[in-house]
Symmetry: C2
Amino acid sequence: MRSPVYFYTSFLLCLVLGIICVIFVCYWNTRWRGGFAWDGSGLQFNWHPVLMVTGMVVLYGYAIVLYRIPLAWGWNKQPWKLLHAGLLLLALLLSVLGLCAVFNFHNTLSIAHLYSLHSWLGISTAALFTCQWVLGLVAFIFPCSPVFFRKLLKPIHIWMGSIIFILSIASCISGINEKLFLVLDRNSTQRYSALPPEAVHANSLGVLIVGFGLVVLNILSRQTCEWSEPGHLEPLLHEES
Amino acid sequence: MRSPVYFYTSFLLCLVLGIICVIFVCYWNTRWRGGFAWDGSGLQFNWHPVLMVTGMVVLYGYAIVLYRIPLAWGWNKQPWKLLHAGLLLLALLLSVLGLCAVFNFHNTLSIAHLYSLHSWLGISTAALFTCQWVLGLVAFIFPCSPVFFRKLLKPIHIWMGSIIFILSIASCISGINEKLFLVLDRNSTQRYSALPPEAVHANSLGVLIVGFGLVVLNILSRQTCEWSEPGHLEPLLHEES
């Protein structure tokens, strides 16, 4: 079960599930929600789920499993660090765009901002993600950061990385659920409770996101204890960097 | 940060936050949803959030941090095992009652079952929890279970324990969000977007549940690597049992 075949199969599954999630969220918003625009209308809102799922779940998930690839444990850590930080920067930029999409849509239609539990959780997760990225940059990329600061931040950075990912997934699940209640029950003849094709598709997207999350968390769980035994190379963030 | 004071402060925080969550969910359903009954009406539905939060989040959370209490690492594991299994059995029974409450309510009002993403996630989590409990009983409590089976199941049991807890929290967040959209936007003059007192209270319940989850996951993260170093006693489930 813990053989390299199992290990790399998990990575492949993670990669494929992530791509399927992006395809599913794009298809949902193209096929049933009318596609995309940047004009303050509902078509601008449609960027929100696409950018949040792509940024805060898929790219973020890819970035945090990067250090579990045995190839990343060699002596030259800098390229992997930059790839990790770069993927997370892209994830952060997409998430900020995704938030702009929904704020602009709410402004245009005079809808209140940040009232639902989904929005409270989502905005807190995005804020935590931003702090985590900035602190990670300062501590682990800037060459002048003191060693004691890296040592202090490292376990917090690793733990917070998983927590932000879990919170992102919880935000996505509540967001998909909320969106389906809002669009199917208010403006459509097909109620959510009748499970029309859009509801089945979007619910399946939620299931796929949870599945992707489980694969990522499973890869993350095979970490220090297993790989830092004497004779093994340690994952990158567990070395002094 | 890793001193016994920090360790026991986390347990105290976990205990207190769990109790506050239960008080908040009871107050929500008493103050704004009309209280409780078992008659197929909306008052029966009100048992659903109370029992799910109490069972699948709070009692479940208490049960899974039990093995991280250093007191539990002594030679006599049996009482702790039974307490762990007992707390989880109580959590399971409350969850089943919570599910009965919503199924009976839906039957009475001819509402379709299991259509929302919240319900898909929630029922899957409850099913996983049931399998986990039964397998845990067979493997770790029954004296005749073979050692190879315990060894095989132990890491899966520990990992699945955390995953079920995370899924429970995601289910609760999406459930609270869903309930507020259903009751505030459909049947009330006070819309969710206006953030009436009920919405602030229930959103705060969601935040408290997330906070409780973070404390539990933080306690769980301080496990094998930290405490199984030579000279330390190992947590109970990490010994051969």
